[in-house]
């Protein structure tokens, strides 16, 4: 069980090299293979997550949730996807056509690119970059552009307000998010994902860095635009924020990206705080999935419990509380590392 996916990859590699195209083409084919595997993982996860979210929200609210299609409503998402495919793509006349369409692509591509550095299991990482976590942060911050593109390109007041909110929120919450990761990176001494996981062999970083984990959790909810920080969407105020004018598959791409981002940010939380794929007995990738879904459950739990926060409270909370706290955490971590080194030295 352990090496099942590795063996599949090896098999693919042998298959590609047996075609005798030369090493460059083979590596390109392998990259394509990785990308399609990742996209498959993302899509499969989204299918499960949408159903899970609806079922969980039903559970939290003491109602059955979707229960008509398939056993206990299991095929509901599939039906939803088919419906979305069948919908007409409406591009408003007043919209800035190119910006409007490009936004859907700009939001989805980074969401998939993030998966390049996620270790799904032992040796199961597409590219083990030596700046892995840095790459993740850099790519994830580009998603902001898509929201302002959607908000501006729609030429709709609700969309514009939503777009403005998104930028303000995502840019601000990026800072405590990064700072909370810094503590982990300082202890691990590396930006490389495999090194960070190796450093958690004995003790998970959630125990060494509990405050960082909480800061990371809160600001990642804001980054994901999920309740209680779903101001950009703000259904009750802004109808649907930047998504207002989108329909059919263009809307679905935003939706897909949202869930894909949730999976990837949960994966980062697992990698950096919960010991990555490490665990006894079960194969490593299974441990990864279990931990991943625990994180996702937490995100959903929060979403269906809390009301939405107000925009000015959101900013105050970030700049006056989370940011100083994360700075303090870095200082304490630094002192702690020095102390430990000093004790070892004696």
């Amino acid at each position: 069980m352990e090496g099942i996916f590795l063996r599949i990859a090896d098999f693919a590699k042998q298959l590609f090299s047996s075609l005798n195209f030369g090493p460059e083409i083979t590596s390109i084919l392998m990259a394509l293979f990785h990308v399609s595997a990742i996209i498959g993982f993302v899509l499969l996860n989204v299918l499960v997550l949408v159903l899970l979210e609806r079922k969980l929200s039903g559970y939290f609210q003491q109602r059955p949730g979707p229960n008509r299609l398939g056993p206990n409503g299991a095929f509901q998402t599939i039906a939803d996807v088919i419906k979305l495919f069948g919908k007409e793509l409406i591009i408003p006349k007043a919209a800035d056509k190119w910006v409007f369409i490009l936004a859907t692509i700009v939001v989805f591509i980074p969401a998939v690119m993030l998966y390049a550095v996620i270790p799904f299991g032992k040796k199961m990482i597409a590219i083990d970059l030596n700046i892995g976590i840095f790459y993740f942060i850099a790519i994830s911050s580009t998603a902001t552009i898509a929201f302002i593109m959607g908000g501006w390109g729609s030429n709709n007041k609700y969309s514009l307000l939503g777009g403005m909110r998104t930028v303000a929120q995502m840019v601000s919450y990026e800072i405590p998010l990064v700072f909370s990761l810094l503590g982990v990176i300082m202890i691990a001494g590396s930006l490389k994902m495999s090194d960070i996981i190796a450093a958690q062999k004995d003790v998970w970083f959630i125990i060494l860095q509990p405050i960082a984990f909480i800061i990371f959790f809160i600001s990642s909810i804001a980054e994901l635009n999920r309740a209680p920080f779903d101001l950009p969407e703000g259904e009750q105020e802004l109808v649907a924020g930047p998504y207002t004018e989108y329909s059919g598959m263009m809307f679905a791409l935003f939706f897909l990206a949202e869930y894909a981002n949730m999976v990837s940010i949960s994966a980062i939380a697992v990698t950096l705080f919960l010991g990555g794929w490490q665990g006894p007995i079960l194969p490593s990738w299974m441990w990864f999935v279990i931990k991943l879904y625990i994180m996702i459950f937490l995100y959903m739990w929060v979403r269906w419990t809390f009301p939405r926060i107000r925009i000015d409270h959101l900013m105050h909370f970030n700049w006056k509380f989370l940011l100083p706290l994360s700075l303090v955490n870095i200082v304490i971590t630094g002192i702690g590392i020095k102390l430990v080194n000093w004790l070892n030295w004696f």
Binding site: S57, F60, Q61, Q62, R63, K157, Y158, L161, M164, R165, A227, P228, D230, G234, E235, Q236, E237, L238, V239, W304, T305, F306, P307, R308, I309, R310, I311, D312, H313
Partner: protein
Amino acid sequence: MGNEEKVMRTEEIKINLGPQHPSTHGVYRAVLTLDGENVIDIENHLGYLHRGMEKIAESRTYTQFIPYTDRMDYLAAILNNWGYVGVVEKLMEIEVPERAEYLRVIMGELQRIASHLVFAGSFALDLNGFTGWMYAFRDREKILDLFEMVAGSRLTVNYMRIGGVCADVTPEFMEALSGVLDDLEKGLDELDGLITGNEIFQARCKNVGIMDTETTLNYGITGPNLRATGLKFDLRKDCPYSIYDRFEFEVPVGKQGDSFDRWYVRIAEMRQSIKIIRQAYEQMPEKGNIMAKVPKVIKPPKGECYFQIEGSKGILGYYLVSDGSKNPYRLHVHGPSFVNIGAFPEMAKGGKVQDAIAVLASLDPVLGEIDR
């Protein structure tokens, strides 16, 4: 380039809140003038649900008009019934039998709880607390089931008749009632835990949409929205109609008249309503008529009359002019929601967009009653 152009200039934008909007509780429309996230001005636009109820009354007989009252404040149909039959009874000087009075109180208070539960649920939903909405509606459903047991319908119950009520309750109903009351108390505790005590909810509601007692009175606002400002004024207590003088209950009041107080007063009121129903349950005579002796064709004497009750949203008054024929000459309804929505612009001005939503939800507008 002139000097003025160098200064950062902001532009106001106008957006529609409604008539098709997730949080306007119906087809209410407001035009918000925004400067970024700040609300500068609000303009009310009403009339999307106007059906001319008062004019319809003039071409219906007195009995025929009762079902129409259900459709005014459709969240508190029984209380609307009560106001209307009350004014006709007052004009005709009909004595309502004791048992019918108790039934009216029980059903009326149940309806008040149901109406407040919709308020609580939609308030939570407007702040995106979806679970709060589901909790409130789960409890309301039980009350609607009770209505179904007695009158056969759930929302537009059409329960009252001139001179009494349309149906007596069964022993099963009384059994179910006490179970529902226990459930409701538990449900209210849950709602308190999930919403009232929530940090984000309090941050969103406290000190938002404050209106002091004097301004509130000048707007003519009554009911929970007035009591939230700290004034203890409840028709059931201060000039009891029906048999409200026989019950012991408190009139909960708020502190400063902000959105949180308006929420809190209603939650406390539901507990008081439960108390009233429990007492009525104990005191109700075992047997008795549920209808007074009234003529088949209702023809009130010439004259005019005003009757008001404490509705779930404020004072619900009916003004009736009779010319002695079988149709009302003129009927006017004083709907509390209409008065409440008038204060919305002043309350929400100067806040954020999200505050405006919270204030609107805290006023508990029902469009059926505003537009009639």
